[in-house]
């Protein structure tokens, strides 16, 4: 123990930092996450350049049309949502997600596609679809909220 394989570094081993007593996000990317909604893109770009640690990797044994991906520090929140949108893709033959062990913060996604596309492309499309979906839900939510506020204001006036 005490050693972990750093992702994106081809198996080179690095010493794991002392286990933090708190799970509070320590990485810079979480900072960009927190103020992402309000503050525009600048903060994120900065992060992209300095600490480009990746949290997703292709598991061994993958072929172009059938692959498993490992997501670090993700759980059912993204797993199930991603599984759903990827299953909505007609080029996808099979998609499932799993959390192999509850005490490891890892989430695996398995994608098998029909010929003509790749598992990576299906994953990308899934992630893009989630973003589109969020925009639509956000628009609809704001619309409904403002309508409700107007109705309330006109009712009390």
């Amino acid at each position: 123990m005490g050693k972990i394989t750093k992702f994106g570094d081809d198996g080179e081993e690095v010493t794991m930092k002392e286990t933090p007593t708190s799970h509070q996000p320590e990485t810079q990317d979480d900072v960009s996450m927190a103020d992402a909604g309000e503050e525009g893109e600048e903060g994120e770009e900065e992060y992209e350049e300095e600490g480009a640690s990746t949290k997703v990797r292709l598991l061994p044994g993958s072929t172009p049309t059938a692959a498993s991906f490992e997501f670090l520090e993700e759980n059912h929140t993204l797993g199930n949502a991603l599984r759903y949108v990827i299953m909505k893709n007609p080029d996808v033959e099979f998609c499932a997600y799993a959390i192999p062990h509850p005490s490891e913060a890892k989430m695996n996604v398995r994608i098998q596609t029909y010929e003509g596309t790749t598992a990576v492309e299906a994953l990308r499309k899934g992630l893009r679809d989630i973003q589109e979906l969020c925009d639509v839900v956000s628009d609809k939510f704001l619309e409904a909220r403002n309508d409700f506020a107007e109705k309330k204001a006109s009712a009390s006036a």
Partner: protein, 378 residues
């Protein structure tokens, strides 16, 4: 990459399910002892000939939001037309991933009260605080472990109370609150100590203060005192529940009650009592209805019949399924794609803003991973 070979095949006519069929697929059946038709089936290939592929325009047409209540600390709304996996992602993010400020470090200078340091510390940590939204959400940043506390990542609070005898207490009084000063320590006794630029963001009505000032923190007797300094940091609910911005964020599926055959007279009244108030109403059978043959109302003009007023208020207790007189006359269910959310804020965010933030959070997460997937392939 994948879209290189788009075959220009003759478009196959896609079957479109009838509205009744869609309704049927969207209903979870609730029977006396079982639930059936539970899983969603809106995937390509599930129904031969039908198109269930992801289509953002179709989604935009179908999805609806209806507000029922929108108060700062409590909001109730329906999100209609999404899958459970998406609705659940929003709920989970609201509980565990939206950051708030809470007491994290305590410097206990003196504590001679009977409540132990660690227990007092735990109690203090759980007190929800509020303050200027601009400062909380935009000015304050994450505190990295080991970093020097600064005005932009740490908020200092102070609690300094001493219990003393009240010289002016009525002689016959037995109430500790009259007999002593500071016999009870409340959340409102915690004072905010502004540092640096914090004075700009957290002053006047924007001061950092407990959302509920009357939370009882400790009890003391004369001679005892509590003197401590606290550091608040930003954190998320997945680390500790004290960081969760919501007291509850939950959803339930919209109940459906279908009366298949008329329920009349005494039965109707009994049927009404099987449900919470306001779910079932009683109406008189009209002349026209009584005339209609095969409606089940023949010869019952003027009698009371049970009608569904507001299925949303039902708790789906299934009480009505326990009585033989309603057998085969009523069908209970839930709408698979109609989520009634209840979001109760603990004060640092407006309830509706928490949901909006959860949407933004999911989008941001997908965006980051998309970039990482692109990098992974290169």
């Amino acid at each position: 990459m994948g879209s290189s070979k788009k075959q220009t095949a003759v478009p196959v006519r896609t079957k479109v399910p009838s509205p009744e069929e869609v309704e049927k697929r969207n209903t979870v059946h609730i029977n006396a002892e079982t639930v059936t038709n539970v899983t969603s089936t809106d995937f390509p290939g599930f129904y031969p000939g039908e198109d269930h592929s992801w289509d953002i325009e179709k989604f935009r047409e179908n999805v609806r939001v209806v507000f029922h209540q929108n108060d700062p600390y409590e909001a109730q709304f329906s999100l209609i037309g999404v899958d459970a996996s998406i609705a659940n992602a929003f709920r989970r993010i609201m509980i565990a991933d939206i950051p708030t400020l809470a007491i994290e470090d305590i410097f206990m200078w003196n504590n001679t009260s009977v409540i132990q340091d660690e227990v007092l510390g735990h109690r203090l940590g759980l007190i929800p605080f509020t303050g200027g939204k601009e400062g909380l959400h935009n000015f304050l940043k994450w505190y990295k472990k080991g970093e020097t506390p600064c005005d932009y990542n740490t908020v200092e609070l102070e609690l300094k109370v001493k219990c003393e005898n009240n010289q002016n207490a009525p002689t016959d009084s037995k109430d500790p609150k009259e007999l002593y000063h500071n016999a009870h320590v409340y959340a409102k006794d915690i004072k905010f100590v502004p540092k640096g630029r914090q004075a700009k963001y957290f002053s006047g009505e924007n001061v950092i203060r407990p959302t509920n000032p009357d939370i009882l923190v400790a009890k003391m007797r004369p001679g005892q005192e509590i003197d401590l300094t606290m550091h608040m940091h930003k954190g998320v609910g997945s680390d500790h529940a004290k960081f969760s911005p919501v007291a509850t964020a939950s959803y339930r599926l919209m109940p459906t009650i279908t009366i298949l055959e008329p329920i009349l007279g005494r039965d109707a009244e009994k049927f009404q009592k099987c449900f919470p108030k306001g779910v079932i109403g009683l109406e008189k059978v009209t002349k026209e209805e009584a005339k209609q043959k095969g409606s089940g109302y023949e010869g019952h003009e003027g009698e009371l019949k049970a009608v569904v007023l507001d299925a949303m208020r039902d708790t789906v207790s299934r009480e009505c399924l326990r009585h033989d007189e309603f057998k085969d006359k009523v069908k209970l269910g839930r709408r698979r794609d109609h989520f009634i959310y209840l979001v109760e804020s603990t004060g640092q965010w407006e309830s509706d803003a928490i949901f909006l933030e959860s949407i933004a959070h999911l989008k941001e997460k997908a965006k980051r991973f998309e970039k990482m997937v692109v990098n992974m392939v290169q």
